[in-house]
């Protein structure tokens, strides 16, 4: 075995034949978030990748069993704080199914508007971090700057920039202000104008194409079997969008397209969310026009509960299919809540895609999978 004398600080463990090095990417790495990937490299080629999540595990599911439905809302939105409406949506839908609660029409439209705004907020954040991974500082600044347009809208509606806690079983917490509609249309028009510029500077940039085209190709069959979801699945050619397949609230009355691409590489996974943003703007505008007036919340009693039973509800959040499995035992506190988050399902795709890839491609592949470490750990 070759004895390697390297400067101190490198964590390498040569294997018996001396070729394979084990590198630990994260969790203190500037490019990995609160997540560790144990990568085994042979020269420049990755031989094996072992994801190691769990650095931000807070026991969300256990905490849910000690709180009733309303008390669960603020802490359940914390795993995915940038898309807080998306992670609460299936929970309130499941509670409404268990308790047979009827939601007013206006609340359904408002919920869709806020869910789409939050999905765009997350996608812009994700695009910004993609820029950091690739070393493109403008790709970090522009999405972060344009995100403020949408955060302004969210703040107008809910009072908080990021941690909304807006959805409750029975509707939403409060109504939108009167000036919301005009401001939303203005901000969205400007945002669409900005989105048109993204294509020129980011998506047709030859260096960006060099780094992401044909990198980390995921076939449709593998994608389905591995359980990945969301834009990653749609970038591999599978047309699977929960908003069209199993419309919840009033999605069946809205008119929008599902974006898919055939190639399944990192470029497609970066391009699909961008095209989806146009559709989201479309959805929000339709909702703003069709929204009826009326109450926005069905008032429940102090401790809402439902009969013994279970509910499984799923929703298309910014990253993919978020599902809740709620078991109720007749008391106000749920017996078991299981969050099935899209980030956790992406972990299975990581070793599959990274094996055989170059080490320099690892940031492009890893971040294109829409992985959010806090959400995966719950």
């Amino acid at each position: 075995m070759i004895q390697l004398t390297l400067p101190s600080g490198i964590q390498v463990e040569p294997s018996e034949d001396g070729r394979i090095l084990t590198l630990s990417v994260g969790p203190q790495h500037p490019g990995s978030g609160h997540f560790r990937l144990i990568v085994q490299v042979d020269g420049d080629i990755i031989v094996d990748a072992d994801p190691d999540p769990g650095y931000v595990h807070r026991g969300e599911e256990k905490m849910c069993e000690y709180r009733n439905w309303i008390q669960n809302i603020p802490h359940l939105e914390r795993p995915m704080i940038a898309d807080s409406c998306g992670i609460l949506y299936p929970f309130v839908l499941a509670c409404e199914e268990i308790g047979s609660i009827k939601v007013p029409e206006r609340a359904k439209y408002i919920r869709i508007i806020m869910a789409e705004i939050n999905a765009m907020i997350f996608e812009l954040y994700w695009l910004a971090i993609y820029g950091i991974f690739l070393g493109h500082s403008t790709m970090f600044m522009w999405p972060m700057g344009d995100r403020e347009l949408l955060i302004d809208l969210a703040e107008m509606a809910t009072g908080a920039r990021v941690t909304h806690a807006y959805f409750v079983p029975g509707g939403v917490r409060n109504d939108l202000p009167d000036t919301f509609r005009d401001k939303a249309i203005r901000q969205l028009d400007y945002f669409k104008h900005r989105l048109d510029q993204y294509k020129d500077i980011f998506y047709t940039n030859p260096l960006f194409l060099d780094r992401t085209e044909r990198v980390g190709v995921l076939t449709a069959q593998d994608a389905i079997n591995l359980g990945v979801t969301g834009p990653v699945l749609r970038a591999s050619g599978v047309e699977h969008d929960i908003r069209k397949i199993e419309p919840y609230d009033v999605y069946d009355e809205l008119d929008f397209k599902v974006i898919t691409m055939k190639t399944g590489d990192s470029y497609a996974r970066a391009y699909v969310p961008y095209l989806e943003m146009y559709e989201r703007i479309n959805i929000i505008k339709q909702c703003l026009e069709k929204m009826p007036s009326g109450p926005v919340r069905t008032k429940l009693g102090p401790n809402p509960k439902g009969p013994v039973g279970e509910a499984f509800k799923r929703v298309e959040a910014g990253r993919g299919e978020l599902a809740y499995y709620v078991v109720s035992d007749g008391t106000p506190k749920p017996y078991r809540i299981k969050l099935s988050v899209p980030s956790f399902r992406m972990i299975a795709a990581m070793p599959h895609l990274l094996k055989g890839a170059k080490l320099a491609d690892m940031p492009a592949i890893y971040w294109s999978l829409n992985y959010w470490p806090v959400e995966a750990d719950r």
Binding site: S8, P30, L134, N205, D210
Partner: protein
Amino acid sequence: MTTVTQFSFTDFVKSLLWLAFWILMIVTLIILPIIFIVLFYVPAPEIEGIEITPYLLLSMMVNPDIGVPLLKATMETTFFKVAVFPGFTFAALFATIIIFFERKFLAKMQLRVGPYHAGREVLWWARNFGGFFQMLADLLKLISKEIIIPSGADKPIFWAAPVVLTVVASGLVALIPVAPGWVVADIDVGLLAVFALLGFFPLTALLASWASNSKYPFIGGLRALHQMIAYEIPLILSVLGVVILSGSLNLSTMVEAQQNYWFILLLPIGAFVFFITALAELERVPFDLPEAESEIVAGWLTEYSGMAYGLIQLASYMKLYALAALFVTLFMGGWMGPEILRFGPPWEPDLMIRGHMVLTVEEGNAFFWFIVKTFGIAVLMLLPRGINPRIKIDILLRTGWAKLIAVAFINVFIALGLLYAGVIHPVGVVGT
């Protein structure tokens, strides 16, 4: 419980007198003699045949008939050229302005403002330049910070690396001709000296990273080595065309050979290859692998803090100035340009102070055009940072070793073709 000493007026007066006594002693016995010796007995360089002492110098400064020729003579001394213009101070000032401009320029591209507050009250009338004193603030901050050395670092090399970097960058600056006659080192093999100095940079980067004794600088140093070595060969090849067309390796001669047509019009491919490889030598985006922030924290200069970091940044931007100036010298006609500056009426256009000539109009125009062109090219070198992501190492090496060398060779053949077709003669004049 604290004890308070009793205040006694006599003791106070005694201490004052004691202080006065010692001040008087030191001033008369030590300081006054030093002043006298320096003023009257230290020989300053001989100017115009008169042996000058500093006293004479100081008294001459207020007499313009003697002061101005003195000034002109000082401007022609080697010391002035090395230290002030076009040497170190000029390059450092240029580098500082380029840093400030880069920060504002990139900020505007990225929907930000850049440095905004420092100096805002002073320059209230120039809203776009708010924050100009940020560079001064940064300099003061870097000077006052502690230089932290990692525990296992190789101390002599760790300390030497930033200094060597600055020295070599200054060496590059010394070879650039700013105006006819205004060059610090006018050697006949100027271009070869440039490449010899450029060959130092991969070594210093590697030494700095190895001496830091830590993981991220190690990776960054290796990447810097790979990158710079891969791009040195296309750099050298791309200027071969210029050498062929101008017939000498002396940089001033190359500028004078572009009297009628700039070489960028005749050899555009060479200029293009030179520009790209200069970006790679400077480690600027998209070639900033050695300092990739998101992957290896700060690359080979991770462990440097305080003024050592300041020196490395200064060297980096002086290199930017030197390579931009080299581009202008080789391809864009150096200091050549139409005479548009005049310091006085048309029959007496030179810069005169009290009847004594300080700067000829040709020199003034040469400075002006050189600075304008170099600044323009430097801004062009700053631009890719706002547009491009980082390149991958395999694409980098493939481009440097294969594609750019091939393109540079094509450029050489174009130059040879132009020469042998009789379009250009070795002195660079078309047709005659």
